[in-house]
Structures are given as structure tokens and as C-alpha cells.
Symmetry: D2
Subunit: 338 residues, 4 copies
Amino acid sequence: MTVRIGVIGTGMIGRDHTRRIQQVLAGAEVVALSDYNPEAARAVQADLAPGAKVYERGEDLVAAGDVDAVLICSTGSTHEQYVLAAIAAGKPCFCEKPLATTAEGALRIVDAEVAHGSRLVQVGFMRRYDAGYRMLKQAVDSEIGAPLMVHAAHRNPSVPEQYVTPMAIHDTLIHEIDVFRWLLDDDYISAQVVFPRKSGHAHDKVADPQIVLLETAKGVRIDVEIFVNCRYGYDIQCQVVGEEGLANLPDPMAVTLRREARLQSGIMTDWKDRFIDSYDVELHDFIIAAAKGTAAGPTSWDGYVAAISSDACVEAQQKSGQIVPISLPDRPALYDRG
Amino acid sequence: MTVRIGVIGTGMIGRDHTRRIQQVLAGAEVVALSDYNPEAARAVQADLAPGAKVYERGEDLVAAGDVDAVLICSTGSTHEQYVLAAIAAGKPCFCEKPLATTAEGALRIVDAEVAHGSRLVQVGFMRRYDAGYRMLKQAVDSEIGAPLMVHAAHRNPSVPEQYVTPMAIHDTLIHEIDVFRWLLDDDYISAQVVFPRKSGHAHDKVADPQIVLLETAKGVRIDVEIFVNCRYGYDIQCQVVGEEGLANLPDPMAVTLRREARLQSGIMTDWKDRFIDSYDVELHDFIIAAAKGTAAGPTSWDGYVAAISSDACVEAQQKSGQIVPISLPDRPALYDRG
Amino acid sequence: MTVRIGVIGTGMIGRDHTRRIQQVLAGAEVVALSDYNPEAARAVQADLAPGAKVYERGEDLVAAGDVDAVLICSTGSTHEQYVLAAIAAGKPCFCEKPLATTAEGALRIVDAEVAHGSRLVQVGFMRRYDAGYRMLKQAVDSEIGAPLMVHAAHRNPSVPEQYVTPMAIHDTLIHEIDVFRWLLDDDYISAQVVFPRKSGHAHDKVADPQIVLLETAKGVRIDVEIFVNCRYGYDIQCQVVGEEGLANLPDPMAVTLRREARLQSGIMTDWKDRFIDSYDVELHDFIIAAAKGTAAGPTSWDGYVAAISSDACVEAQQKSGQIVPISLPDRPALYDRG
Amino acid sequence: MTVRIGVIGTGMIGRDHTRRIQQVLAGAEVVALSDYNPEAARAVQADLAPGAKVYERGEDLVAAGDVDAVLICSTGSTHEQYVLAAIAAGKPCFCEKPLATTAEGALRIVDAEVAHGSRLVQVGFMRRYDAGYRMLKQAVDSEIGAPLMVHAAHRNPSVPEQYVTPMAIHDTLIHEIDVFRWLLDDDYISAQVVFPRKSGHAHDKVADPQIVLLETAKGVRIDVEIFVNCRYGYDIQCQVVGEEGLANLPDPMAVTLRREARLQSGIMTDWKDRFIDSYDVELHDFIIAAAKGTAAGPTSWDGYVAAISSDACVEAQQKSGQIVPISLPDRPALYDRG
Ligand SMILES: [Mg+2]
Ligand SMILES: [Mg+2]
Ligand SMILES: [Mg+2]
Ligand SMILES: [Mg+2]
């Protein structure tokens, strides 16, 4: 059975997911497209999905009888409404992060899905599908004993002028916030942010670097360096220290050269290259679950917890050096981990 | 357009390629299956391709009107006949290695394809599609100057009793024979084999390890250690030394652990894991070309040259220590490299 | 000219330094020995320095006419008195850490040396002489731009029952406290200690692991994991993040093995092996300076600042999570850095 | 007891050894110097050993009553006569390589030492004292089972015009020739040399790179790449493949940097830096043995075997591609390995 997919939002990521479904992955085809700018939707139709129908309104796409499942790739502020529409229609939907722009909005989605009674929503936290993180999780689960600490870094070569301090949480740390919960099977109970000496390469409106210190319910201490003007590359580091040993996230595979008095290997500079393969895997997971009328991978609850946790981190930025508590409501049984 | 594929030979690799087309890759579906054991074909039909038709004879599958392209995964001695049938039918075909069991047979295929006038055959040398070798080729082409030497190793933990000395060439070195030609854009002019002290873990009928020394038309010297009872893992190493520097084939990505007084990372032990991703990529390449009625990737000529070169290496085994010349006829224009 | 050295304290380290001077290093000989247990001194005399004279009192050794310079290797609580005696006698002295057991005691030494008017004291912070840290300092000074952060770890496989929480500062972190000041050419202005989930391998009286967060006058943020029951090895890690790039302390040289499905190299388990070479280098530096009647390397001031900074870290342990300020008096001109 | 040493030949290496004895190592002092250019000897006397006596003739230095042991650092063609003089005088001597310029000359030294009845000669093959090779030997002896193959490389960035093809053996490979015998506890039985495509950076009189293939009595196969215009650095590689696994010579310790889109660490470019520490260790070994009136480390026999083996490799260069046998007389009992 081929899953018939409607894509809402045909910007960079919506176009790329359409290409993925049409040209790379088995099991699905794009039959509907929608964008607030209909020309954009029609351009994707022309280039990648000539058989797809273009809808003016996302809600109409969700409701269409030949649409089995929905991809939400529109601007963040519209995510909540389309996810709620998909849940109302009982259709599986994949929603790019953030699930909603507020924790309250995310909670409304959780409530709707719980009311529906089975999973319909997958949130686009693609790192859980990265081969490196999967290897790391396997090592954490089987090789190093109980995790005690995580040392991590999220570095970008540079950021544009519109990147301001809170975006270090909402746009950058958000990936670590989700993936560490999954990696450790744990939740956060406090956050603290400290600001080292600012890099001379950081522009006026961003404090850079930052160090975020998180504490989990099980007592794990996490330090994450966020450094978005590090110059040298896009570099994601993660080391988990357990009772019996340590495990490191592998660096991306690279040729080792001996050249010009240097033993050297390339470091990526464009974030788009780093987790490119995991987008294929997450959508493949979505297609398989959608064919059964349900959803897999990161849940609405994960999206909600990410929102709560990010809000605390932003507060911790504002209260530089102070420890900000994080508390969560009880997790609905729908989201019990396997 | 979906490419309708017929699969001849539904053993381990035929079944796996069928799964790949049905469940992983966009753009193709398996519509026909054939095996000398019809039960095997029907089992794959039941598990993976319920819509496919089962043929008793491979030739009938090739001839079927709804089969656009053919995958030849049957036993090696039957490859030649099915490839010739596909060429006669003007249908793209993917043929697992070897293209034929003799150089003469491979040359008959080359001649038939040349007579046809355009490419129809892709040979299953999957290493050319491996991400690591592709990175290495890019480095060889742009970072290290003219290649002068290659130091390589092909190691297996162990081999069964039926693995005898010439299989070190036909089953093991064959991958290096193809991939180094592609990596260096070069051909072999001589081979020499020397036999180190035999490992105590090697059984009676196999000389192990062996070192194969190849010389290319451009003067590159290649040494390949073949060690099929190395115990510690399945390990493929390749270092290219050029006028300006060196490049190494990357090891597969692995978590680095610090545990039990060892900095350590896992080495694969099963060859099936090592190039698993490249099978997807080679078939994706086949599907794209087949949709246009042609073939891409390793050619019939490559299959023929691999046969000639392997024969020389086996002769060099028999004449331990002696240098055996390798000569090729002129390459037909059809196989000019881009 | 051969420097004639008297050694006070002939326990493990005093015996080893005597061996070093007698059997390894040019330029000095041990002419006098003293220990609160005269038998111990006589045993070292018999084994390593038959020509040396044994003194009952360290003060008499310091005063002896044929003693040019003094090594103080006795128990920590006696360091201050012997250093002050050496300064009073105008003789160069090498003092194992700690310089004194209190910051006040260390300040008395600083005052005495300043009153003397030239350097006479070298403190035994041997890491500054380690080849790896020296390479790192060179990289920090020339390759990575202004330092912004340091991520470090100090791990021991296990500690005995008598190792209690404050010893994580006084006996373990003390090395980082000194070497980071030297590495960064900077001083601390605050300390914070957080306690992750305790390792099941840690005994009752030690909170383990701990994370110490230090802030420097220049704004560098340092995080040091102290984990003295890490099981897997004695492991010292240090990464400096600068405006232009990162530099890592090299791991000790080790053979890389491929064995038993693991790419592996050994990690040391005994701290005594880790900086063994640096003891030779620090004493060589002492001998060269002592031949000129002065001292080189880590100063009394460094010993004093280490004491002040450690005290703050112990207070930060006691005030778990709180930030404790660190302030220093002005540095006497005698200790201006080159 | 201090060993009183006479140094014959005060060029670069003789001066450096004099510095080592005077300023670095315990247990010895330079009391005599000689050079065919007496001004050179007097300059070293003035700079490093004011108490030493300068002799016009090396033989007189050897004979001097206050000289306990001799260092022979003069030009290679004079080594044999001075070593024979030292043996005649019954004095330990350290001789820089080569022991003699012909195998016959080396054999005369062996015969003289055997006639003397105990060891007096240490040959300056310093790699046996390198920490990396020592680690590798330990791994070879205990971790990888019986050695079967060695893959090695000896690379220099460039060589001067006077470096001609045979020097690749006598000046470059000579170190591998000795150190592999020690590493494997084995001897060579044949040599073959093949010439890859020549590097465009090699001048007219040197074939570069070369690959030397050696076979040992135990059946180990060794391939050594010699590449003296490799451009990128001075790089010594050695991998030993055994029945149970592999071991690699460690690269020199270096800081790992992340900078300019490269994970990188420095490679040495000057050969003088690579084994600098091993010179200290070999002379320390000489001093300790000389204090007992004997010699340790590489023997006269090792020097003789190196000469025989090099001669065969040069013949193998001249007979490009042909296998040249190597045979040795029986080893005198004086040189039985511990
Ligand atoms: Mg699809
Ligand atoms: Mg398909
Ligand atoms: Mg000494
Ligand atoms: Mg000396």
C-alpha cells in the first residue's frame, strides 16, 4: 500500500521532504501540496510531484479524501492549528519542530491526541534517527553503566545578524534538549546558564558562547557549550560518562589525509550536511507507521517537554548564573516508553 | 514513472534486492521473479512482492512484456546467458558479480552490448557506491597529487573449509581489483603474489595470508594483503600515496569508548554489514538509469577487465613470486570514461 | 659546577628524586639527607647516595656549608618551616606541593622571598613540565585565538577509604588549579561545585563525581569533571576553546591494536606513570637555576594562589551549587611573568 | 663512579653527544676530544667540556689512561679503525652507524670482539631505544600472536641533490633493517625492490619512491615504502600483522586542533626531532654498561648483519624486481639473545 501524503508548507524543508518521498523512499507519494504562497506550492508540484493537487488552505488539504497523512513544514506559528486539524481528521501527521510556539499550544495538541486515544503525531526531531546517536545510545544502554554526566557542544561557524541570544535555546539547543532526554531516558529538573567571555566574532545581539547546565530527574549533570560563532565548523560533540566508562558520539566519517605537515580530516561547515541521512530515516519511519494509521518516533509529549524545557533555559539565560527549576505534569499513559 | 523489475535468482542476495526495491527505494517495483527452484521464488513473492508473477525460466521473465529491467542474482555460471538475453531484448540489466565465469564469456557480453550500441548492463561492484570510497576518490582526485602507490588490506575473521587458495582472488580480491581501477582511473599491467608464513588459524587448503602486488599502466604500485583468517574482524583498508600527500579510506563510523583501561571502538566482524548502504545506492543508480532505458555504474567492460585481471592473479599465485604480465585489448568507445 | 643538594623527607617521592639526581640527571649530586625517621634516610643513603651525610634535623641540613640547594619532600605540614629556613639561608629550594597547608602560611613564604629580593623557591607543580601540556600551551598561545572556555576532566580508577570529599580539591583538582593559571596566564574569580548522581563505586565519605566550574579574571569559563572512581583508568583530559578553534591535550602515546573486534589502545591506570617524565624535567630546571643561585618554574606566589583558590573550591563544595567569589591581593613585582 | 669518556669526531652528532653527557645525563663526563680538524674539537671543548683534553689522533685518545670509554662519531670510513683500537684497548665504545663501510670490515670487528671474549661495542641504532618502538615490541611480543607481515614506510619531505638511489638503502632503510630484526627477533633471507612511478618532486639521480620487500627466516613478509620526496613530512610508519591481531607504531604525540574546517595535528618535518629522546636513552644505556666495563644494546653482530642486508638490498635495486637471496654465517655465541 502506498501512503498518500499531503505537504503543508513548501519552503526549503517542505520541498526537500517532497523530493525525498517522490525520488528516494519507497511506500509513499505526495498527492497534495499547500503553501500560504500558492506559487511556491505550484513550483514544487511542477518540479517534483506533477500528479499532486495544490490547495489554497492547509485545512482543506488535511480534509481531502485522498490524503492519508500530512507533513507540516509551514512556518512555526501555524504548526499547532494544522496538527490539531490532522488529529481531528484522525490522520497521521509529521510536524517539523517546534510542535507549537508555546508550551500551552503543545499541551493542547497532547490533550487532543490523548483524547483521540492513539498516536497520530511525529515531531521532526531528526537526531534520534542519526546513525551516530543510535550507536551512542546503544553504547549508553549496554556498555558504560549508569550515566552520570554528559559533556556536549553545539557549534556553528557563524550566525546571521538576526540570531539573538534566546535563539541559542529555541533554534540551537532545542536539538540537544530533545535528544538527551531520549538518550538518557530521563527528564530535566533544573537549568543554569553561564556566559563566558564573549567571542570577538559574535555580533552585538548575541551572547556567544554560552554554557547551559542541566540536571535530570535521575541526577545526571549535563553541560552543553553553545558556540555559534566558533569559526572552524559545524561541530556536534557529545560524551556520556557512566559508572563503568565513557562513550563519545562519533564524528562524521571523513578521509584522513597526511598533507602539508598535518594529519588532517575535514570538518563540516554547513549544518544541512550533518544530519542529512537522518531525514530519510525519520520519514521512512513515518511512512511505515502512517501505513498503519499511527505514528512513531518523537511524540507530542516530547514536543511539549521540549517547549517547557526551552522556556526554562531562556529564563536561565535572563537570570545569568541562577538555577531555574523545571517541572512537568504527569506523563499521559499514551506516551509510555516501550 | 515506476520501473518494473524482474528478478532472476531469489537466494539471499535476490531476496535482499527485492526487499530493497519493494520497501526502501522509490521508483521501481518487482513485477516478476524466477529461480531454478520455483519454491524459493514463490516464497519471496509471498513475503515481499505479492503482485509479482513467478516464471519458471529466466528467459521468459526477461521476455515478459511488463518487465522493463532485469536483476540477475542467480548462480554465477548462469549470469552470461541471462545478461545476453537481456541485451537481446534491449532491456537494462543489473548483474551481480561475476559478469561471467570466464573472460571469454565476459567478452561475449561486451561484444553484444557494443553491437547493441548503448549501455544496458551494470555489474554489481558495489564498493564504487560506498560513501567511504567516494570520499577517498574525491581526495585522490583533488588533494594528494598524482597517485604513486596504494597500500591495502582485505581481512576476514575466518573462512569455511571450502574456501581454497584461488578464492582469495575470485571471491575476495575481486572487489579491490575493480575498485582500484575506478579509484585510480587506471588498468593493471602485471601481478605478483607472495606468501608469508601461514597463519596457524588457516585450514589446509588455503594459503593465508597472501600479498598481491599489482602494477598499473601509469606506474602505480599496489600491495594488497589478503588475510582471511585474521581473527579480529572484517577490515578493509586502503591508503593512496600521492606526490603531495596521502589519503586513507575512512574506517566505518563507530562510538569511541573508554572502558577497562582501553580507548576502544568496535570493528565489524560480518562482511555483510560493511557495505550494506552501498547496495541501496547502487540499485538507486540502476533504477534511475533503467527509467531512461540505459545503465550506469560499473560496465560490462569493467566486468571483463576484472575477469582478465583475476585470471592473471591466480596464475601469479601458482607461480609464487613471479611477475605475471596482464594485457588488455583496446577499450571500445562505448566505455569511454566521462 | 655540580649543585650539591640536600633532601629533606626520604619517603617515596624523596627517594625517587634522590635516584633522579644520582642516576639520571647531570649537574647535581645528593650530599645530604634527612627524615623524621633517620632509618629511612639511612636506607636511601645506602641504596642511592653513599657519599651523602644524614642529618637528624632538616634545619641542620639546610644550614650545612656543603649544601647548595634543598629539596623538601617531607610531610606537607612541615613544608613551610623548611622553606622559610632555606630562604633565611639564601639557598634555592624545591618544595613539593603544597607549599604550605594554609594560605596564610604560603603568604608568609611569599613575604619572606619578597624580602629576600630574588627567587629561591620552586613549587612541585610538575604538570607545567609535561610535554603534552607544553604542546597545548603552544597551541593556545598561537593557534586558537583568545581562550574562552576550558573543558577538563581528572579521573582516577578508584580511591582508598580515607579519600574524603575535600581531597577532591586539595589532592586532585590542585593540579588543574595550578596548570590552568599557567596555561591561560589568568587567575580565578569564582568557583561553583555541582554534584551529579553519585557513582555506585564511590564509598560513603566521598561525593563522586563532582563538577567544578571556575571563572577567570579574563572571563574564561572552566568546567572540570573530577571522577575518582571512574574505574576505567587514570585519565587527564583538557580542551581549550578559543575564538578561532580548539586544542586538546594529547593523550599519552600508545600502540594502536586491532584485536578481538576492537580498535584499541591502552589507557594508564596508575597516576604515577602519567607525568613520570615531567619529574625529570622539573628537577632539571631546578638544577640549572640552582647552579645560578636562584629558582625557576612555579613560584611561591603560584603556591599561594593555589591555596587561596583551593580554599574557595572547598567552600563551594560545602555550599553545593552556589557561586563562591575568589579574590587575590596584588601580585608582588618579583612574580611578574616574563 | 663517573665514566670518563673520550669523543672521536666532533661534528654535529659528536657535539650533541658531548652536550648530552655534560648537561643532561648522570654518570659520565667527557674528558677527551678528537677530530681530524682540531679546531672543531677545541670549539666543543670551549663550549661544553672545558676540562677535556684535545687529542690530535683518535688512537691516542683511545689509549689515554684517563679515558674509560669511547664515543666514535667521526666520518664513517674511519669507524672500523677506531672500534678495533678500542677493542684492542679493552675499552667499551659506542659507534655511530655504520659500524664499518663494508661487511668485511664489520666482520673484522665481530672477530676482534669475539676474540676479546666479552662485549665492548654498542652500535648507534637508536630506534631500539625509542619509546614508540618499545611499546610496539611489547605489543608484538604479547598481544598479536606470531608476526606474519610488516607494512612500513619511511618518508622524508625532500632530499638534497647528492642523495642518490643507493642512499635510500644505506642512509634511509638502514634504520628499518636493524629495527625490524630486533622487533621480530628474526633475520632476512631475501630482498626485492620495485620502483613505482617516480615522483615529479624527485631529482634526476634518485629513483623515488621505492618499495623494498623483505622475507625473513621465519617467513615474515615485510614491505617498506621509501619515499624521500613525500613533501608532507618526516613520517615513520610500521604495522605488524600477527596471527591474532595488528599493532601500529604510535605516531609522535601531538595536540589535536579543530581549526579552519579541519581536525588536525602536526606532523614533524625534520628527522632530527623524531627520535631525539632515544639518543638520550641509548647513551644512558651505554654509560651504565660502560661503568661495568662492557656494552649493551645493538651489537657488532647487528652492525655486521645490517651491512650484509643492505648490500643485498642495493643489489636488489640494481636488479629491479628480482628476488636477491641473503645468507648469514652462524652467529657467534657471544651475541646470543637473552
Ligand atoms: Mg516514494
Ligand atoms: Mg520501490
Ligand atoms: Mg646527577
Ligand atoms: Mg653527565
